[in-house]
Symmetry: C2
Subunit: 689 residues, 2 copies
């Protein structure tokens, strides 16, 4: 942590000598894409950064950094180059409302009454590339850093604050100012329970397509609708990151759960520049707050591996979402146990329900924390542990419940319900015995059981649950649109069944149900494809003639029983119930896609052997169309860097649906971070002085 | 109209002999894409079709057809093949609510008290291809038709109706039943005025992208928002056609204006199978109803040529949107004058305001109706006629106002405001003198002036206006995303300015403002592109490396003044005001696209010489990437038929925003046709018995 980059530093010497000539160049900050450090455009960095909103009483860490670039466009000239000001100061002032005088800027130590070794000076260095040309040339820019951290602070007095970092850079006094807002918290609790659904990567165009394939329409009028179509409140949320306009699931989950924008890959923290992925400034999540304020039970359900970003961000804190073993450790215990030197006196205290995939972090071995058997660790903490849908049915809520149903992500709805042969040969039993996980529950099974467990354990305190349809996004990444829509329809079916179940147990009127996504993923339907004609053509340009646009898009083939289409050459997998397609391989299929993909092949037919792998490594080391897949389709050239094997996330605002007490606040257009505040206010989790 | 196809018919003989062997094949109806006739899955056709909703008192035509296929999968066998039942009957019954007995099915003549020659038997024939294989083989299917029409009917009694067409087919009695709903109309008028904005092809991903390029964000928090983000009510509408899930602007405008789903290319009619494009069954539009019920003034504003589908569908009726001259004729006069044999006793009676492009339908010549000078025709009907923005300012509302500002579609916002050199050399003066239309107003200029004219002419009756940002879609078709977003930002700016102006003249609280789109058009942003790096690479695969996804998408370069980015190599066109980009050519541009396109090239830079032409004709007669465009970009292979030169529409639900009296009814998810009913109810245009 204390490596300082100097011109004499052997490790970087050759680099820096190479760069010496460029130190006198004018300021060439491009900084739009390759940033020194996100949310820190000046050389003084404050986390929580400028424009942060807080729930009154919510815990957060404060991280201060002063940067001194050794070389590159921001380095300046002269003796002080590369030497960060270790004597920086930081103060906080309350801005008076209504044009009154802003209060005195009080030094951080005094303002937060910090004790012990809080705010001890830290020093480190890091390097980065300023742009793609620099990357190609191997031209690193080095930065020396002086920093301090203060842990587990809070602001309890609603209003506008200005926080000021004062430091010297290039011999000149500089100030970096952050504006913070502590929002006035709701005083009255509206909702006893919160059921928070996340359709990972779910967008409106996907919902429209799901409706098309699963709901019958006569002359332009749908005879049934999605459950999502029928919620009380409709909203839209902006999903961008703090330092990039496209986000990932870690950092967007952080926004939804903490009300704070952060950087890509970050779970419940802002991203600082140190090497340690566990020392980044933390912020308290909705689940931690719910535990701390109400003592009520918390549930986490996901079709992903349970340490994945969306489930993981509720009860863990690290800037590196790939620390899966630590995520499980922290979820069971707490952050302070994981990193005792960074005190974090709040936690989920072990969620009452944890259902999903991801046995690799539980089976003793390379994937688990310290190689420990985490099934046993959970049992030791009082959990009932189940491994399949049959066992899940026996869970009665007397104990907390851990259900891990597969190694890795869980099977997809289409494979569990339609193409069931694909479950075989996966060797993904959660027990780790190498057998197949053939008896996996679906999102609906897990969510309904979780409701019962939480209800039983709530003792009148209410409960909080997050339930994630994770593979909408995972299958969109794989460009396996059929499976993605199957996952979305399963989510819709789960929301519908949850409403019915809550009604049955008398909790519907007490429960705020929110359904949203964490980010966009480009997708839309643009027509129909005659898959029979497409397969029969011999050139790519002729195959494209199978696509029907506008009038020739025709009607949905998915809602029509195959026997009424004897000429459709379709494969019949067995009829599904209402709200799902009657068939998945109609002759006339939807044609869909997006403009960001690796090279791939397209035939507009379901991938029958399991989820797609659209691209594989080519001769140049980059990805090319998988030659073994959709061989009867046509080639589509990629548009993204050749080291991307899959589709990528997109910018579009994502929909929000709500029902129940507090639902009306979810109407309109707002920032992703506002979701946290709306839920926290429905539960009255804020606490002003 | 009376050509009957028979086996002895010389024209079709060879075809039918060829097909004779296939007449005994089993029923092979594919019918998902290539339909005999939309909204008519059986051999009996009723227009208004099954599932139609009516406003009480709204006028509509009734068309009945009995089809007798001569050959193909529906032809059957035996002596009666190809002979339609000329003795068919049709009756209407009111279904009693609450399980009561359904009334007697009363014969159409009696039910609607028809007079004269209404319901005279008509006969014709048509042919179609059953699928792409049939098209390739030239295998036409012939159908003989017996038909009747009844004009200008109405249903005034709210409730559920069943209409039954009885006919004989293949010697067997058949019934085709249509369920009709007459909705209970609002009794009280909530809104005095309605200002209805249509962003053609506008989707949420485009709004998100527009916000990104025009509104500054600091650490993930926008400092300003779109006007659309701030409306009172947010909804989503499903845009599909009656007989295809992708729609066009004609048929979607028909849904919005009449509350009736129809087929592609249809303006204010359902599509029948006759050859005459003016005899199709009409339905009364919101503008006709507004005129008939209130006598208040009507305004139509568009940046397209004024006979284009979206403006044209308000005051004209034809199943063929390309009948531009007739559209202008009917808009000025009425349908009965256009086709006296089909009485249609309602019309717009000449809108009080008509502002847009499209001089080719006004200048005497090939493009105008009967070669007439339509500027003069409008003047004769009492209109003031203006040709540029300077003249537009002089319009005072004492007369009705016609403003035609260019030949064809109007110039785009980017070209009018940023790349103004592109206005030169177009020879598109609306006077037809071959000069350039350099002084074109924008959507805002036209809309604000239209408000003043309508207000002046309303005499307390209120007014109705439709204002269309037409080139969002037109530029999306051209894959010119920058110009499309410029048009969207102009729409947002127009909505903002209209609200301010209505406030100023004291009409804001009286005016229902609705902003929506007519259909989707696939588009989303998936990252940033270092355009400098892209241009510097020498292969397509290397150029793709310039695209930054997730974290490397970076921040918006469009909101940053170029002088703060000295290394960005951007072209500076002059700073825009707030709510528009500060620059249009940042080094770090957004990377966007969609999965439905012709072959094209992509460089993620603005097309400086005017709107894009992404594809041109190639050696095989199909479209290939335009070799003269974006030559520094990389190639992207197409996915749609090679006879498509542009991008195409998409399925996604489109957003609805509303403000003012009645706005609350626009919340939630609904069908496009519901927009008509919501507006009609805000104006209390329905009239029950």
């Amino acid at each position: 942590m204390a490596t300082t980059i100097t011109k004499a530093n052997t490790k970087l010497l050759s680099l820096l000598l190479l760069l010496a000539t460029s130190l006198t160049l004018p300021n060439l900050v491009s900084a739009q894409t390759f940033q020194r450090l996100g949310a820190c455009p000046t050389l003084g960095c404050i986390f929580p950064p400028d424009q942060t909103d807080f729930l009154a009483g919510q815990l957060f860490d404060l991280r201060l950094e002063v940067h001194a670039p050794v070389n590159g466009t921001e380095a300046g000239t002269g003796a002080g180059v590369g030497v960060p000001d270790e004597g920086f100061s930081f103060c906080v002032a309350k801005v008076q409302e209504g044009g009154g005088k802003t209060g005195e800027c009080v030094d951080v130590g005094k303002y937060f009454k910090v004790k012990g070794d809080a705010g001890a000076l830290e020093k480190w260095s890091f390097t980065y590339y300023e742009d793609l040309f620099a990357r190609d040339a191997g031209t690193l820019t080095g930065v020396n850093v002086a920093a301090k951290a203060y842990r587990a602070l809070s602001l309890n007095d609603p209003g506008h604050y200005q926080a000021k970092l004062s430091y010297t850079s290039g011999g000149v006094k500089q100030n970096t100012v952050a504006n913070w807002i502590v929002r006035e918290p709701a005083k009255k609790r509206k909702a006893k329970n919160v059921l928070f659904f996340i359709g990972d990567g779910m967008t409106q165009p996907m919902i429209t397509a799901s409706r098309l394939i699963a709901h019958k329409s006569i002359n332009g009028k749908y005879q049934t609708l999605m459950q999502l179509d029928q919620m009380e409140a409709l909203g839209l949320q902006m999903t961008h990151s703090i330092d990039s306009f496209i986000t990932d699931s870690a950092n967007s989950a952080t926004a939804l759960y903490t009300g704070k924008k952060s950087g890509v890959n970050a779970l419940g923290v802002w991203v600082d520049s140190s090497k340690d992925v566990f020392d980044d400034p933390k912020v308290e999540t909705i689940a931690e707050l719910f535990r701390r304020r109400t003592g009520g039970p918390v549930g986490i359900v996901s079709t992903a591996y349970i340490a994945d970003a969306t489930p993981g961000a509720l009860c863990s804190h690290t800037r590196d979402r790939s620390q899966s073993a630590s995520v499980v450790f922290e979820t069971l215990y707490n952050a302070t146990s994981l990193t005792p030197k960074y005190d974090w006196p709040t936690s989920c205290k072990g969620p009452d329900v944890l259902f999903g995939g991801g046995a690799e972090q539980f089976i003793a071995g390379a994937g688990s924390y310290n190689g420990t058997d985490f099934y046993k660790a959970f049992e030791k903490e009082g959990y009932q542990v189940v491994y399949d849908n049959t066992q899940l049915k026996t869970v009665d809520g007397k104990k907390k419940a851990l259900g891990i149903f597969s190694v890795g992500n869980m099977a997809k709805w289409v494979d569990r319900n339609v193409l069931t042969e694909n479950l075989k040969g996966q060797k993904n039993s959660p027990t780790g015995d190498g057998s197949d996980a053939l008896d996996q529950p679906g999102l609906k099974d897990m969510t309904l059981k979780a409701i019962d467990v939480l209800q039983k354990r709530s003792a009148g305190k209410g409960w909080f649950m997050m339930s994630e349809a994770a593979s909408i996004d995972k299958m969109m990444h794989a460009m396996d649109y059929d499976r993605a829509l199957g996952e979305l329809l399963e989510l819709d079916d789960t929301v519908r069944a949850s409403i019915e179940h809550l009604e049955k147990i008398g909790e519907l009127d007490n429960t705020l149900i929110v359904v949203t996504a964490d980010h966009g993923h480009g997708f839309d339907v643009f027509g129909g494809a005659d898959t029979k004609y497409l397969a029969a053509q011999t050139t790519d340009r002729k195959k494209r003639g199978a696509v029907g646009t506008y009038r020739n898009s025709g009607l949905s083939g998915y809602t029509v029983a195959p026997d009424s289409l004897p000429n459709n050459q379709s494969v019949v997998y067995g009829a599904q119930g209402p709200n799902f397609p009657v068939q998945w391989s109609p002759r006339y299929a939807y044609a869909a896609g997006f403009g960001a993909s690796p090279d791939h092949r397209e035939s507009y037919t379901i991938n029958e052997k399991g989820p797609r792998t659209p691209a594989t490594k080519g001769d140049d080391g980059g990805y090319v169309a998988n030659p073994a897949e959709h061989t009867h389709g046509f080639s589509v050239s990629g548009t993204i860097p050749i080291d991307e094997s899959q589709g990528v996330h997109s910018l579009q605002d994502v929909p929000v649906y709500a029902k129940g007490p507090g639902a009306e606040t979810f109407r309109g257009v707002y920032n992703s971070v506002d979701i946290f505040f709306k839920i926290a206010d429905a539960l009255a989790l804020g606490k002003a002085n």
